[in-house]
Symmetry: C2
Amino acid sequence: MSRPTLEEHAPVQGYDPRTGEPVGAPVPATRPDEVGRVCDELAAAAARWAQTSDERRARALEAVADLLDAHVDELAALADSETALGLPRLTGEVARTTGQLRLFAEVLRDGGYRDVVIEPAGQGRPDLRRTRRPTGLVAVFAASNFPFAFSVAGGDTASALAAGCPVVVKAHEAHPRTSVRTAELVTRALAEAGAPPVFGIVHGFAAGVALVEHPGVTGVGFTGSTRGGLALARLCGARPVPIPFYGELGSVNPVVVLPGAARRRGEELALGYATSLTQGVGQFCTNPGLMFVPEDEALLAALTEAVAASTGGPMLSRRMHAAYRAAVTELRAHPHTRLLAEGRPADGPWGATPAVFAVAAADFDAATEFFAQERFGPVGVVVTGGGPQEAADRVARGEGKLTVTVQLDVDDPDDVAAARPVVHAASLRAGRLVVNGWPTGLAVTRAQHHGGPYPASTSPAHTSVGAAAIDRWTVPVVYQDCPVELLPDALR
Amino acid sequence: MSRPTLEEHAPVQGYDPRTGEPVGAPVPATRPDEVGRVCDELAAAAARWAQTSDERRARALEAVADLLDAHVDELAALADSETALGLPRLTGEVARTTGQLRLFAEVLRDGGYRDVVIEPAGQGRPDLRRTRRPTGLVAVFAASNFPFAFSVAGGDTASALAAGCPVVVKAHEAHPRTSVRTAELVTRALAEAGAPPVFGIVHGFAAGVALVEHPGVTGVGFTGSTRGGLALARLCGARPVPIPFYGELGSVNPVVVLPGAARRRGEELALGYATSLTQGVGQFCTNPGLMFVPEDEALLAALTEAVAASTGGPMLSRRMHAAYRAAVTELRAHPHTRLLAEGRPADGPWGATPAVFAVAAADFDAATEFFAQERFGPVGVVVTGGGPQEAADRVARGEGKLTVTVQLDVDDPDDVAAARPVVHAASLRAGRLVVNGWPTGLAVTRAQHHGGPYPASTSPAHTSVGAAAIDRWTVPVVYQDCPVELLPDALR
C-alpha cells in the first residue's frame, strides 16, 4: 500500500445514493497523531478490560445492545439517508446487530470460549493448565454494505469487546454519519456500564493505515474488497511486530441446481434466486452471482420471468455503481452471453437494474476466469447445460468461496446421488454449504461459520460471524506447576 | 527473500560437529521441478487421505512410530554423527518423537479435534452442523536443533498427517543423512499401513522456496530463525493465493528468581539453571538465556560454581558456532558486564564453552535491546538487583517469549505476593509460565501450549507442540439444512 495522498486525508463526505447529493456536513478525517492518541489511550486500558469479569463484560455488551435498540428508528433513518437500503432492512439489521452483541454476552456467561484444559501432574508430567487471554487492542475495518452488522458495533467489534480487547473502528466512507452516531451510542453505553475506555473510532483512509501500523494494535478484522484487504494484510505482515489479519475479502457463491429440483419446483427456484440476487441491491458478500442449471426450458423461462419482475435500487456509492455498470456492459458485450432478463430499472444517478446473463457450459469453461469473477450488485451469470458432475468440477476448480448452494429434490434418488460430488466439492472450496436455501441470510449462532478458502477469508480457520468469531481475539497461555493462589480464577 | 543463488542449489553436506569433517556423501539438492512433481503427487492424494478413517490414519501414525522405535539405535547413531548431541539425548528424542505420533493417534480416536457443533433448526434458524476438514498439502520446515522431534517425523509432520493432510518436509541442512533415513522409514511404514502417497522430503534452500511457492501447498509449519522465518512468512503472504505460516521463530526465556527462593534454595537453583542453560549445548528455543536475580551474594557464588562445573560441547553447525562466539565476544567486551563464570571448554572446532555474564539491573535497563537479545548456545545473562516488580516490568516490556519462569518459595508470603506481577506479565508476554521448574523440557500433552507473542510465534493463537497442534491443519465447514445422507459421518 503506497503512502496516503493528500486526498486520502480529506474529510469524509456521505452521500444519499438516491440523489447522489451530500448528506450533512463532512466528517473530518482523523489525523494520524490523533489515531495514535486514541490507540495509546485504549491500549492503556487493555489490562483493566481483560481483567473485568465475564459477567461485567456481558452486561456492558447488553448495555450497548439496549441503547442501540432504543435508538433503532433514528439509526435506521440515518443509515437510510446514507445507504438507501430501506427502513425495513436497516431496522432489521439493527436488531441483528444487537442480537450479535447479546449472543456474545451469552458466550461470556457460558465461559467455553476460554477453552480451559486442566491436566494434573502425573507420570513425570508437570501440572499444566491452559486457558485463553485477550490479545489486546484490536482494529476493525467496517464494511460498506452492512452499516450496522459489519460496521461500528458489528460482529468484529462485539466479538473483540467480548474477548476483553479494546477496539478502534475505522469507519467506512460510505456511511460516516451513521458511524459517528453509532459510535456515540456505543461509547455512552459502555461508559454507563462502567467499562474503561475501550472503544474508539477513526475516519479516513490515512487513519486506517496509521491504525494498522500502531504498535499497540494486536490484530485486525476486515470485511471488504480483495484489493484493499490484501494491501492491509501486507501492512500487517510488514510491521516490526507482524500481527494477524482476519479479512473477509470476496466470494462468488455458486448455486448448483440439479435436474430433479428444476423439474419439480422451477418457479419457486426462479423466484428464490431473483430475490436472493437482488436483495440489498445485490450488495452482499454471499450474493449468488453464479448459478449452474440443467438445460431446462421451463426453468429458464421461469428465471427470465422472475428476474424481469425484480426491482433494482440505488447502489451504495458512486464507485460501486460505476463498477456495476462496467460489469454489466462487459457481460453484455461478450460474444457468448445472452441477456436472459433485466429487472425494473431503478431511479437516480446510482440506480442499478438487475441483469442476468446466460452462458452455455462449454463457453463458461473456455473463459472461466471472466465469467466466475465476483461482480458486486444485482447481476448474475447462469451457466446452462453440462451435468451435475461437471458443475461439481467447476465448483472444485476456481477460487475459495464463502458458500456453495445445491438445489435438489430430496425425494429423487438421482438428485441425491448427483448432489454428492457437489457437496464434496463445496466442503473443500467453501466455508458453508447450503442445501435448498439461498446463500444470502446468515444465522448468527454457535455453529455458524462465515469464511472459506482464500479469497473468501485470509484466515480460513476462523469465522467472522457466530460465536466462534471470538477466537480471533484470544490466545492460549499455559501455566506449569503454578500454585493455586497465583492462577487466574478460570484455572483454579 | 531474494531468488536462490547457485550456491543455494548445491548438494547438502552434513558435518560431524566434533571434527568439522564431512559425514558421508552429500545429499543432492532437490531441483525445483522435482519439488513440483512431489507436491503434485501428494496433492493428488490429499482427498484420499482426508477420507481415510480416523482409525486408519491413527494406525498409520502408530506404524510410523513402531518402525522408528525399531530403528532407534541406528537413528540415534546417525543423528549423533551429524549433530553430536549424544546418544542418550538422541535416543530419548526418538522416543519423544514416536510418543508424539502416538499422541496424535489418540487424538484421532478421541475425535474431539473435529470440533463438531450441531444446532438443530428452530426459531427461524436453519439446521447448522459444523466440523473441520483437513486443509490439504502441508509444507514442514525442519529445525536444526531437534533432528527428530522437530524434524522429518516431528510434531508438525505428525499433527498434519493426523489432520488428514499430506506433508512435504524441507529437511534441515544440519542433518541431511538423518533426514533421508528417517524419511525412508516414514515412507515405508505409511506404505505398509496402506496409506496413499502422503509424505515427501526435499533438500536444499532453493527447494524450500519452491515448496512454499507451490500452488498445492495450503500451509507451512516452521521452526527456526527469525530472519529465515520472516522471509518465508512474506513469501506465503505474497503468493497468488496467500497461505498461513505457522512459525516458531525465536525467544529469550526470562527466569525471575524471587528473594525467598534465592535464600532457601540458592544452590539448587544455581545447579538447575546451569543444567538448563547448557543442556543440548544451549541449543533450545526455550533456553533460559536471561535471568533476573536479587542481590544475593550466596546465590551469585552458587551460580558461579555451578556454571564453572558445567560442560560445553560442539555446536550444530559452523555458522551457529560462529554466531555463538561473536555473542560471547560482544558480551565480554561490553563495559557493563562481568564474566560470572565459564564452564569447562569443549573440544573440537565448533566447541562452545558455557559462559554466564552478570549485569546490574540499571545497566540492563540502559541497554535492554542489547542484553535481552536471543543468543543461541550455552551463554546466559544474569541481571542482578532491582526488585521483583521491576523484574516483572522488564518481562512485560520486551519481545514476546515462549516461556517465562518464576522461582519462588511457596511458603514465603512475600515471594507469593512478589510473584503476582511476574505471573501477570508472563501471561501477557509468553505462551507458557513455568513455576519452580526450568523452561527446557516440554511435556507433549493435551494441555500444552508452545507459542507466544511474536517472535515466539508468528501465529500466537496456535501451538506447535501438544494435541492442539493439529488445529493448524484443519478448517471449519458448516452444512446448512443438509439431508443426513449427504452429511459426513461425523455430522450425522
